[in-house]
Symmetry: C2
Subunit: 295 residues, 2 copies
């Protein structure tokens, strides 16, 4: 663990139709004083400008699945997003004097996820910062991805041990909502202020027990044999991200009006319920296990 | 005015990422008895299958702006949607024995529009049907577009004097919401049942005064000189479609936090507030005038 954060990257528009982060980046680029702190430098990056201009998640493939080390080192890969991932790695890491120590990647979701911090590792620094944020802001939830090592992590955040993605919702793709824009901006400031206090040696332990939602599995929509979906998220489950779901409770409603229940053996906490971009990934929701961690 | 409706077309997926209509069409195609009525034939049409498969509004251009008579007759136009528009005209109108008398085109919106009927003309039959639907269902609102003649109407509904589009929301692009799916399906059944009673000569006057929201103008987002937006729908206006907006009331919030107010001279009723697909059309909302019509 380093003693000081020297350089922070705030990234938006990794998915081109997630406007909250993309426009926040543009605001920060226009008014850099907002993200300036005395003890470190902050840079902004609009990660997928071509997809943002097109108002689409991506041009050729999901940029936030292009950061596997193996892919970044493969010279034969040449889709727009594969090239862009290499270019981003180069921008953020190549120059030893300008290497970033912390990456904040701003996303949005159609799911009712509030302000979710997506941890791709369990670095104590990230956990402490996440604990602090959830302590000062009740909208903040903490989701821990399933990747067991950096090597298998394809997210942009894999470029750097410190930092995480922020996933805000619910919001449709391709729009801005002022309240969510302001909440996200406030969260960015809370992160930067925390990093500043860390550099000043002024971090106080929050002494908190932290609730973390650990990824268990993902669930696909009910499907016909030809692969087309035959049902929707059940109205009783829609918008209930982070709430407990017990065996036997409604999960899907088929187009014919039949209720399909959750058939697992124990209570789970679903998130990413009805995320638009996950239909093509065969994910209707992710199931998590709520756990208390003592820091 | 004809004495009998012989053939009805229910259209969905005119915009490929508006899933409610597209999946309703698939359900009706799979279970045709649902839309069968004794006195007329009902056909379904997935209008833009290529855009639906891609999960995008359109491939080359907005299909629902390709139905100007002048464009349909121009043999030099050849984008995917221009060709598709000609093909749809051919499917629905070319065979004199199989010509449709009524078109219902199913759309969805990220705006809080409830179940909106979009009238592209003021045909008494359409007005009476709209009055009936708003009478039996309080979620139904009636919006009258600005086109003064069929000739300037580029919508799919311009193919047929009778019928209208249904615009349901709020819902993100690329997802299904069970409650809105069911409400839309119920509205389709109410339309078909009304047409059946019309053919049976059993339409009773509702004797109602009808509220119609007449299009006045559209308002763009506040912009910088380079054309990029510099603000969002004001939180106090978000989701307040069909509610009155008076001069001096908040309309936009700039990224810098400044409130911009409505500067018109009289009260208006905004709709299509923050519709995702209208950012590129330079429309932040449409302003309407609420009017009472006696049928």
């Amino acid at each position: 663990m380093m003693n000081k954060i020297n350089r922070v990257a705030i990234v938006g528009g990794t998915h081109g139709n997630e406007f909250t982060g993309a426009y926040l980046i543009q605001k920060f680029a226009q008014f850099p004083k907002l993200i300036t702190r005395p003890s470190f430098e902050t840079v902004t990056l609009l990660a997928n400008p071509k997809a943002f201009a097109a108002g689409r998640r991506y041009i050729d493939q999901d940029l936030n699945r292009c950061f596997l080390q193996q892919k970044l080192q493969d010279p034969t890969l040449g889709s727009y997003e594969e090239l862009r991932a290499k270019s981003i790695q180069n921008m953020l890491l190549s120059n030893r004097d300008k290497q970033v120590d912390f990456i904040l990647d701003l996303h949005s979701t159609t799911s009712n996820m509030g302000l979710t911090i997506i941890l791709v590792n369990s670095h104590p620094f990230n956990l402490k910062l996440a604990a602090y944020l959830s302590h000062v802001n009740p909208l903040v939830k903490i989701y821990r991805c399933s990747f067991s090592s950096v090597v298998e992590n394809p997210f942009l955040n894999s470029l750097c041990e410190l930092g995480f993605a922020i996933e805000v919702g619910p919001i449709a793709q391709g729009i801005l909502k002022a309240d969510l824009f302001q909440q996200t901006e406030e969260l960015v400031h809370q992160v930067l202020d925390y990093l500043e206090r860390f550099n000043e040696g002024k971090i106080l332990s929050t002494g908190e027990t932290l609730s973390v939602y650990h990824h268990l599995s993902s669930i696909d929509y009910p499907k016909q044999e030809d692969g087309s979906i035959l049902g929707m998220i059940h109205p009783q489950l829609q918008d209930r991200d982070y709430e407990p779901l017990s065996p036997g409770e409604p999960m899907f409603l088929t187009f014919e009006g039949k209720t399909l229940v959750y058939e697992g053996k124990s209570t789970v906490w679903p998130i990413f319920i009805n995320e638009a971009a996950y239909y093509e990934k065969l994910i209707a929701m992710c199931l998590t296990q709520k756990q208390q961690i003592n820091l």
